[in-house]
Chain length 374, copies 2
């Protein structure tokens, strides 16, 4: 079965959407934040901890799983769900972003991308067909089309050629996509150029996918430009398909993305900053290494319902982080993931009650006021 | 309330004892293996994971907690239980072993030990009184007397003087021990010398403690000598008090210790080897990095009831370990701790059924046969 998106409420004062997405591994509501399980594991956490965070769906990286342990091994295990013991929905990316960012040097042609493994330097070749073939074997619920990820900024001419190639690649990938239980998303590129985003969106929609991603953001552009990129893309996407903004996890960016009609977000941010001792709070990010938390016997957030806030104090987490005890990063990862998912829960409610912009203003005032103070 | 040990069954063919120990944080049966929470955390694990392993009691290191975050901070948090969110019994060691092994250079006098912190090189001074004072503040259920830990081997003359000092230190520590809700153990030293072990045991018992530890093993002696050391100590310890063999966690050593009348064991072994990719099995230790596990989609042990064996395959754990994903060490730590606790559960049953030596022979045959093969 393919995924089914249902639009349940359209917010009156913005493009914000409240909906639900049905998959073969369960249904979840949107907007939703998706934790990243790079190598078939969300760093430090078990599936149960992710269910407890109310994660609707997680992401696994095709590039990393391809290199280690290999898609054939995962297929032998019965696919990603069986391999990593995750019973909820899983989305795989195309590997494109990693190939363009991690693997160097690379040689991009119409056929695909030749590059060297970031692990052992061996020669690898990823094509639109190969990406889909790997994702078919990984057996995720949702696969991504292989796209070209151009740097930022580039000229309009460069970006136009890149969008053309991404469209040809999307077509090639779709042609070989076989898995009837796996949905396939197209990716809208086009950088900061409205005409190219519009064209990319319209042409990708014409090819016909089960959902649409917005790519090419968080690549060095300023926030204003990022928001324009999202505006230019969602405007031209169909209402009846789910929309996924790739690689975005800053709380304010999630809120602004939702206002612009995005349904799903993913980012390594909550787990990465956790490993460095940072926690999201309504009053901005805090670093637990800070001496002021030494004797702070209160939870990270008083009103948070996560496991970490239920049982642990800032003083204890600070102790763990200071001593390089991995439980520290684990407790912070749980809190940070739950923080972003709770944020999307509140956004859903705000959409249903048509007060999304008001919610944004209130959240922003508190989050950024203290953020400056820290 | 002080701990209460109840001897429930004495095995017919050995010194093996089945009993129960009542503490202010719950009652557990003995023999029992005690996981080590060096810095107020059993590496990588939450309290819930330890409860699921059926851990009866855990150990926290006084030396490490004294240095970071400090006993006063932990006291302010309400003691170790509150600080680390552990609701079961906790035992603290005296700090002696760490001072004698980790901290160098050191200057041992009758008063105590002057040494340099292994973290920042600052000058520290640990005395029998100071150790008890710290443990009082940590508020563990069971505290240890501060003892001298001589190297191995030493002469009879050297060991005699050391035992004399340990006895004087035990007396001094007992004199300042104030916490009515904390039990205090004496430690039997004496190396491999039967007369000194006997004398140390008898004199320590005369001082009157709530339980007795056997120290000075696992310091470089061979297994046969270690077993003699245990024999020489337990022989002279009262039947109505619990006995704790410090720093021993190899499965065969636990079994041989139980045969010699030991009730409690602790060791960092299960968590340490886990972080290096090793798992205990009935057929000996295995290293998950081994290529032969690459496509092994079976659990670490078919009949193990731990979380890891319930949900994960060797192939997945191998993948995690190979990629340095901390979930790998975490899953192996859970299995290894549960393995040793299950071993003590089986030993309890074997004692009750008076077939302890038979159990030992069967376990040993299987464990060592494959151990040689690996």
């Amino acid at each position: 079965m393919k995924i089914k998106y249902e639009l349940l409420h359209r917010e009156k004062n913005s493009m914000g959407r409240y909906g639900s997405l049905q998959t073969n591994h369960g249904t979840f509501e949107t907007p939703m934040f998706m934790p990243v399980g790079t190598r078939a594991t969300v760093k430090m956490l078990t599936p149960e901890e992710l269910y407890d965070c109310h994660a609707g769906i997680i992401l696994a990286n095709t590039y990393h799983c391809w290199l280690r342990p290999g898609e054939n091994l995962i297929a032998k295990a019965g696919g990603l769900h069986h391999f990593m013991n995750y019973r909820g929905p899983i989305l795989t990316d195309s590997g494109g972003f990693q190939v363009f960012s991690l693997a160097k040097p690379k040689d991009i042609s119409e056929e695909g991308v030749k590059f060297k493994s970031h692990i052992d330097g061996s020669n690898l070749f990823l094509t639109p067909e190969k990406s889909i073939e790997i994702q078919n074997k990984l057996d995720s619920d949702i696969a991504m089309s292989f796209d070209e990820c151009p740097p930022y900024p580039v000229t309009h001419e460069y970006m136009k050629k890149s969008v053309e190639r991404t469209l040809r690649w999307a077509k090639r990938g779709k042609a070989v996509h076989q898995n009837e239980n796996q949905s396939l998303f197209g990716i809208v590129q086009g950088g900061e150029f409205e005409d190219l985003r519009k064209w990319s969106a319209e042409e990708t929609v014409k090819l016909g996918f089960d959902g649409y991603s917005i790519g090419g953001t968080s690549v060095g552009e300023d926030k204003e430009t990022m928001m324009k990129m999202i505006d230019y893309a969602t405007k031209y996407l169909p209402e009846d398909k789910v929309r996924y903004l790739m690689g975005v996890g800053e709380p304010m960016d999630i809120i602004e993305g939702v206002i612009r009609g995005v349904d799903i977000f993913d980012c390594v941010l909550p787990t990465r900053i956790a490993r460095h001792g940072n926690a999201f709070t309504r009053d901005g990010k805090i670093n637990l290494k800070n001496l002021k938390f030494r004797e702070d016997f209160t939870p990270l957030e008083q009103d948070c319902d996560c496991y970490t806030c239920k049982y642990y104090t800032k003083a204890y987490i600070r102790h763990l982080i200071t001593c390089d005890e991995t439980l520290g990063g684990r407790l912070l990862s749980i809190h940070n993931i739950r923080f972003l998912i709770r944020l999307t829960e509140e956004l859903r409610k705000a959409i249903q009650e048509d007060r999304l912009l008001e919610y944004r203003d209130q959240f922003k005032q508190r989050y950024e006021a203290k953020e400056k103070k820290h």
